[in-house]
C-alpha cells in the first residue's frame, strides 16, 4: 500500500496547554481522538512526555508532535507520522509568531487568556479543517486585524475597574 495519499489535510490537532498540563486551547481536526475523554488523556500523555525536555519534536502514540514552550505556555501541532515534519513546524512557528506579535511579545498564560478571541481568530486563519490556510505570521496578524485593546476608561464598567484594581492589589501583595 502507498504510505500516504497525497492530500492537503496535514494537521490533526493544534493544542495549547498551561504549565499544569491543563487545556487552554485545543482543536482536533479529525477523528483520531473522537471523545473529550480520549483527547484529555492524549493531552496528559503529551504533556508528561514533553514538558521537561526542550526538544521541539517527538513521536507519540504513533503521531508526530512538534512543540514549543514559552514561559508558562506549551504549544503543540500534531500530524500523522508520515507527514513532513517541516510542514508541521511551519504551522507551529506561524502560530507562535502570530501570537507573539498580537500579544506584543508577551507570550504567557495571562496575556493569552486576556486575548482569547485573538487566539481563536488566529488559529482559524492558520488552519482550516486540517488544511494549512496560511503560514505567514504577517498575513495572519493582518487578517485577524484585532483592533487595539486600549479601551477608553469610560467604556469600562465599574465592576471591571474594580476587578482590575483588585487584581493589581493582589499582585503587589504577592510580590
Amino acid at each position: 500500500m502507498f504510505p500516504t495519499e497525497p492530500s492537503l489535510y496535514t494537521v490533526k490537532a493544534v493544542l495549547i496547554l498551561d504549565n499544569d498540563g491543563d487545556r487552554l486551547y485545543a482543536k482536533y481536526y479529525d477523528d483520531t481522538y473522537p471523545t473529550v475523554k480520549e483527547q484529555k488523556a492524549f493531552e496528559k500523555n503529551i504533556f508528561n512526555k514533553t514538558h521537561r525536555t526542550d526538544s521541539e519534536i517527538a513521536l507519540l502514540e504513533g503521531l508526530t508532535v512538534v512543540y514549543k514552550s514559552n514561559i508558562d505556555l506549551f504549544f503543540y501541532v500534531i500530524g500523522s507520522s508520515h507527514e513532513n515534519e517541516l510542514m508541521l513546524m511551519a504551522v507551529l512557528n506561524c502560530l507562535f509568531d502570530s501570537l507573539s506579535q498580537m500579544l506584543r511579545k508577551n507570550v504567557e498564560r495571562r496575556a493569552l487568556l486576556e486575548n482569547m478571541e485573538g487566539l481563536f481568530l488566529a488559529v482559524d486563519e492558520i488552519v482550516d479543517g486540517g488544511v494549512i490556510l496560511e503560514s505567514d505570521p504577517q498575513q495572519v496578524v493582518h487578517r485577524v486585524a484585532l483592533r487595539g485593546d486600549d479601551v477608553p476608561l469610560t467604556e469600562q464598567t465599574v465592576t471591571q475597574v474594580l476587578q482590575s484594581a483588585k487584581e493589581q492589589i493582589k499582585w503587589s501583595l504577592l510580590r
Binding site: 504510505p3 497525497p6 492530500s7 492537503l8 504549565n19 499544569d20 491543563d22 487545556r23 486551547y25 485545543a26 473529550v36 512526555k49 525536555t53 526542550d54 526538544s55 521541539e56 519534536i57 517527538a58 513521536l59 507519540l60 502514540e61 504513533g62 512538534v66 508558562d72 500523522s80 507520522s81 508520515h82 513532513n84 515534519e85 517541516l86 510542514m87 508541521l88 513546524m89 511551519a90 504567557e108 498564560r109 495571562r110 487568556l113 486576556e114 482569547m116 478571541e117 481563536f120 481568530l121 482559524d124 486563519e125 482550516d128 479543517g129 488544511v131 494549512i132 490556510l133 496560511e134 503560514s135 487578517r143 485577524v144 486585524a145 484585532l146 483592533r147 479601551v151 487584581e167 504577592l174
Partner: protein, 873 residues
C-alpha cells in the same frame, strides 16, 4: 473541569483567568444581552469568547440551549464591529453541528462573502460552506466560482479550501469549478497556488491521464510555493508507484531535481519520497542520502529528527548506502533530543560494524529509561535486526534485552522485547537456554496475559527438548498457582507437553495435573482432565495427536460446521474431516514486529482468505454439495498486465471437484461484456461439468465467472492437468462517457493463457509443531523412499525453495532455513492431501556437484504416497 482548573489556579497564584468560575448556564444567561438595543460590541464579544472557550474545553451544549444562543447571536450581524463579526463566524462554525436551523444565517453570510470588506469575505466563505449542503451549494455556486478566482488571496484560498471540504459531500457540484481552480493555480500567491493544486488533484485523482497532464504542466512551469512543491512530489511518487514507472521516467527526474530546491521542506519531501520508493538502487538513493546527511547537522531539531528518521528507514534496506553518514550520526548520539539520539543509534546499529556494537549498546542503556515507548520499540527492532546480522553477538543482546524486560514499559514495548528474544532463540540454538531462563523470570512478574500465555506456549514447545527440562516445571507450575484463568490454562497445556515428551518427568507431571483438576475455572479443569487421561494411556500416537500437534482446522470454519451440525440433528457423530483446514498456520511464523507507527485500531481477527472464498462459493447453488472447500490457490494471471481484458484465476479444490474462479476486469470503456464464461479444454481425464457465467461486466468493475470440473475418480494419481482457456462473451458497444450500451451485441472470444493444475493444488499446508511425534503417529505402514538427483540446482537453499513451492507443503521445525556452510540438510514437510489424508515428507539433501535428494514419504493412504513420489520424479 473548569472549577478544578480554577482552584489550582488560585493555589499556585500563577495569574488570573478571566474565565474563572465560568458556568455554562450563567454564560447562556448573559447571552440575553445580545437582544439589547443598541448592541454593546465589547460586552457581546466577551460573551461570545466565553461561549467558544466553553465549547473548546469540551463542555457539552444541549440542542435547545445551543439553538437559543445561536439565534440570539444572529442579531449581532447588525453591528459593524469587525472583531465581533469575526467571532460570529467562529461561533457559527463551532455550533454548526450542535444547533438546529443554522442555515438561517445563509443570507447574512452570502452578503458578507460578496461585500466590500475584504476582512469579512474569506471567513464568511468558510463559515458559509460549513453550514451548506449540496442543494444550497448550487444556489451559491456562482459566488463560489467568483471567489475562487478573486484577486484577494485570502478570499481565493478560503474558497478553494472550502471547496475541498465540500468535495466529499458534493463532488458533482465542485467538479464544475475545475476551470476556476485551474486559473487560481497560476496565481502569484503561494498559498492560493497550493490550495488550487490540492483541489485540482482531489477532483482528478481517479483519472490517471488527467493527473499525468497536470503533473507535466506544473513540473514544467515551476511553482513558487514550497507547500505546492511538496504536494506535487507526493502526487508524482504515487503515480510512479501505481504505474510502476521505471526510475528513468521524467517523474523521477522531477523528484530528483527537487533535491536541489532552495527550500528545506521541499528538499526533505523529495528525499523522503525517493527513500520510500520500492526497488530503489543504492545509486539512485545516493543523492537523497547526501542531502539527509547535510540535514543531520542542522541547528533545527525537527530537521535533524526528520533526516535521521528517514536515514533509519534507508538503513533497513540499504545499510551500505547510509555508511557514508556514520560520522554525522555519531555526533547525534549525544543530541539533547532523545528521539534523535535513539534514531541515530539504531541507525548506526544497522550500518556499523560488528566491533562497534558493544559501545553503542552501552550508550543506549545510559538513556533508555528516558525515551518514550515508541522509541524503545525502535531500539528493540534494531537489536532484533542486529541479532540476525551478527549471530555471535547474541549474548550481549540477550543481556541487554533481559535488562529492558525488567524495566517499566507498556504492552507494545514488552511484546517487542519478548518477540525479539523468541526470534533470537529460534535463530541461535545455543542461546535457547539463556533466553528461556530470561523469559521464565519475566513471567514470574508479568501483568500482560497475552505475553504470559505466549511464553508458556513457547516453554511447552522448547522446554522438553532442552537438556534439563525439569527446571522449567517450577516456573510453569507457579503460574498455575498464582495467575488468572487464561494463564493457568496455558500453563496446564505446557505441563502436559513436558509429561508427554519426558518419561522420567511423567509421574510428577501427573501429580501436578491431579491438582489442576481441582481448579476453580472450567477451562483449566477441562484441560487438566483431558491431558491427564491422554497421558495415562502412555501412547506415542495419542500424545502426538492430542498434545503436541493440535487442531489444524480453520476456526471460523469449525464454528460454522458445528453450528450447521446443531441445526440438523443426526445420528452420525460430528466428523472433524468435514471442517476446512486452516490456510495459514498461526504459530511459528516469523514474527514480524509491527512498524513504529502502529495504527491505533485494535487488531480484529480477520477471517482468512479461504474462509471468505468458502462463504462466496457456498452462496452459489450449483456448488452446493461439493463439501467443504479444501484449498484455494493464489491467483494466477492468465493475461498480460496491459491487455483489453484482465483475467486471473483462483483454483478452489474440493474433495472430488475443482472450481476455477475467473476474476475478469474489462478495461475498455466503450464496451459492456455480458454472459462471460471461460471455456476450458482439459488435457487429461478431467471433466467440465458446469459453467457459471458472469452476467455482465461493465468497464473497470471486476466480475467473476466460475467453471466446475470433476476430478477423475478412476485414476487417483492423475493430479496434474493443463487446461487451455478461452473467454467467451457477448459484446455491446457503449458510449464511453455515459456508459449507455447499444441495443445489439455480438459474440466474441479471447484466448487466455493455459492454466496448470499441479500436485500442490491437492495439498493443504499444515504445521506440525513437533514433526518427530507426527512422523511416529503416521507410522511406516505406507512408507516409501526414493533418491533423486537435482542436476540443475546449485545450492541447498535453492533446492529447499523449489521443493517447498513444488509440493505446496508446510516446512516444519524451521527446516526451510539452511544453516550456512553446510553440505547436507534435512527438510521436513507436512500437509494434508485432498480427502483428509495426512502426508509427511522427509527430504535429505546433500550437496555435491548438484544436489542429491533422498525423499521419504509417509501417509495414512498408499495412493497419496505414490502420487507424491510420482510427481517429484
Amino acid at each position: 473541569m473548569i472549577k478544578k482548573f480554577d482552584k489550582k489556579d488560585e493555589e499556585s497564584g500563577s495569574g488570573s483567568n478571566p474565565f474563572q468560575h465560568l458556568e455554562k448556564s450563567a454564560v447562556l444567561q448573559e447571552a440575553r444581552i445580545f437582544n439589547e438595543t443598541p448592541i454593546n460590541p465589547r460586552r457581546c464579544l466577551h460573551i461570545l469568547t466565553k461561549i467558544i472557550y466553553l465549547l473548546n474545553q469540551g463542555e457539552h451544549f444541549g440542542t435547545t440551549e445551543a439553538t437559543e444562543a445561536f439565534f440570539a447571536m444572529t442579531r449581532l450581524f447588525q453591528s459593524n464591529d469587525q472583531t465581533l463579526r469575526r467571532m460570529c463566524y467562529l461561533t457559527i462554525k463551532e455550533m454548526a453541528n450542535i444547533s438546529e436551523d443554522v442555515i438561517i444565517v445563509t443570507s447574512s453570510l452570502t452578503k458578507d462573502m460578496t461585500g466590500k470588506e475584504d476582512v469579512y469575505r474569506g471567513p464568511a466563505i468558510r463559515a458559509l460552506c460549513r453550514i451548506t449542503d449540496t442543494t444550497m451549494l448550487q444556489a451559491i455556486e456562482r459566488y463560489m466560482k467568483q471567489a475562487i478566482v478573486d484577486k484577494v488571496p485570502s478570499v481565493s484560498s478560503s474558497a478553494l479550501v472550502s471547496s475541498l471540504h465540500m468535495v466529499k459531500m458534493s463532488y458533482d457540484v465542485v467538479k464544475r469549478w475545475v476551470n476556476e481552480a485551474q486559473e487560481a493555480a497560476s496565481s502569484d500567491n503561494i498559498m492560493v497556488q497550493y490550495h488550487a493544486l490540492g483541489l485540482l488533484y482531489h477532483l482528478r485523482k481517479n483519472d490517471r491521464l488527467a493527473v499525468t497532464k497536470m503533473l507535466n504542466k506544473f513540473t514544467k512551469s515551476g511553482l513558487k510555493s514550497p507547500f505546492a512543491y511538496c504536494m506535487l512530489i507526493r502526487i508524482a511518487s504515487k503515480l510512479l508507484d501505481e504505474t510502476e514507472g521505471g526510475h528513468d521516467s521524467p517523474l523521477f527526474d522531477f523528484i530528483e531535481s527537487c533535491l536541489r530546491n532552495k527550500n528545506e521542506m521541499v528538499v526533505y519531501e523529495a528525499a523522503s519520497a525517493i527513500v520510500h520508493m520500492p526497488n530503489c538502487t543504492a545509486r539512485e538513493l545516493a543523492p537523497a542520502v547526501s542531502v539527509l546527511q547535510l540535514f543531520c547537522s542542522s541547528p533545527k531539531a525537527a530537521l535533524r529528527y526528520a533526516a535521521v528518521r528517514t536515514l533509519n528507514k534507508v538503513a533497513m534496506k540499504h545499510p551500505s548506502a547510509v555508511t557514508a553518514c556514520n560520522l554525522d550520526l555519531e555526533n547525534l548520539i549525544t543530541d539533547s533530543n532523545r528521539s534523535i539520539a535513539t534514531l541515530a543509534i539504531t541507525t548506526l546499529l544497522k550500518t556499523g560494524s560488528e566491533s562497534s556494537v558493544d559501545r553503542l549498546m552501552k550508550q543506549i542503556s545510559s538513556f533508555v529509561s528516558e525515551i518514550s515507548d515508541e522509541f524503545k520499540v525502535v531500539v528493540v527492532q534494531a537489536i532484533s535486526a542486529l541479532c540476525q546480522k551478527y549471530p555471535r553477538k547474541h549474548s550481549v543482546m540477550m543481556n541487554f534485552l533481559s535488562n529492558m524486560l525488567r524495566d517499566d514499559g507498556g504492552f507494545e514495548y514488552k511484546r517487542a522485547i519478548v518477540d525479539c528474544i523468541i526470534s533470537i532463540i529460534e535463530e541461535n540454538p545455543e542461546s535457547k537456554e539463556t533466553g528461556l531462563a530470561h523469559l521464565c523470570e519475566f513471567i514470574e512478574d508479568c501483568e500482560h496475559t497475552v505475553l504470559a500465555t505466549k511464553i508458556l506456549h513457547l516453554l511447552g514447545k522448547e522446554g522438553p527438548r532442552t537438556p534439563q527440562p525439569s527446571k522449567y516445571i517450577r516456573f510453569i507450575f507457579n503460574r498455575v498457582v498464582l495467575e488468572s484463568e487464561a494463564v493457568r490454562a496455558a500453563a496446564v497445556s505446557a505441563l502436559a507437553k513436558f509429561g508427554a515428551q519426558n518419561d522420567d518427568l511423567l509421574p510428577s507431571v501427573l501429580v501436578l495435573m491431579q491438582r489442576c483438576m481441582m481448579d476453580s475455572d472450567d477451562e483449566v479443569r477441562d484441560r487438566a482432565t483431558f491431558y491427564m487421561n491422554v497421558l495415562q494411556q502412555k501412547q506415542k500416537a495419542l500424545n502426538a495427536a492430542y498434545i503436541f500437534n493440535g487442531l489444524s482446522v480453520s476456526i471460523p470454519g469449525l464454528e460454522k460446521s458445528l453450528h450447521q451440525y446443531t441445526l440438523e440433528p443426526s445420528e452420525k457423530p460430528f466428523d472433524m474431516k468435514t471442517v476446512p483446514l486452516a490456510t495459514t498456520p498461526i504459530t511459528e511464523q516469523k514474527t514480524e514486529i509491527a512498524p513504529v507507527a502502529t495504527s491505533k485500531l485494535p487488531e480484529k481477527l480477520a477471517p482468512s482468505r479461504q474462509d471468505i472464498y468458502q462463504e462466496q462459493l457456498a452462496s452459489i447453488p450449483e456448488f452446493q454439495g461439493l463439501g467443504p472447500l479444501f484449498k484455494s490457490s493464489e491467483p494466477v494471471q492468465l493475461t498480460e498486465a496491459e491487455t483489453e481484458y484482465v483475467v486471473r484465476c483462483v483454483k478452489h479444490t474440493f474433495a472430488r471437484h475443482m472450481v476455477f474462479q475467473f476474476d475478469c476486469t474489462n478495461t475498455l470503456n466503450d464496451q459492456l461484456l455480458q454472459k462471460v464464461v471461460v471455456q476450458m479444454e482439459p488435457s487429461e481425464a478431467y471433466e467440465v461439468i458446469h459453467y457459471i457465467p458472469a452476467p455482465s461486466l461493465p468497464y473497470s468493475q471486476p466480475g467473476s465467472c466460475y467453471t466446475l470440473v470433476r476430478l477423475p475418480d478412476d485414476d487417483p494419481t492423475a493430479v496434474s492437468c493443463t487446461f487451455s482457456c478461452t473467454m467467451k462473451y457477448l459484446v455491446r458497444d457503449c458510449d464511453p462517457n455515459t456508459g449507455e450500451p447499444d441495443d445489439d451485441g455480438y459474440d466474441d472470444e479471447y484466448v487466455l493463457e493455459d492454466l496448470e493444475v499441479t500436485v500442490a493444488d491437492h495439498i493443504q499446508k499444515v504445521l506440525k509443531p513437533n514433526f518427530g511425534a507426527a512422523w511416529e503417529e503416521v507410522g511406516d505402514e505406507f512408507e516409501k523412499e526414493e533418491t533423486f538427483a537435482l542436476a540443475s540446482v546449485r545450492t541447498l537453499d535453492e533446492a529447499v525453495g523449489n521443493i517447498i513451492s513444488f509440493l505446496g507443503m508446510q516446512p516444519c521445525e524451521r527446516s526451510d532455513k539452511v544453516p550456512e556452510n553446510k553440505n547436507s540438510h534435512v527438510l521436513f514437510l507436512a500437509g494434508v492431501f485432498r480427502g483428509s489424508h495426512d502426508v509427511l515428507v522427509r527430504a535429505r539433501l546433500a550437496l555435491a556437484d548438484g544436489v542429491t535428494m533422498q525423499v521419504t514419504v509417509r501417509s495414512s493412504e498408499e495412493t497419496v504416497v505414490d502420487v507424491i513420489l510420482a510427481s517429484v520424479g
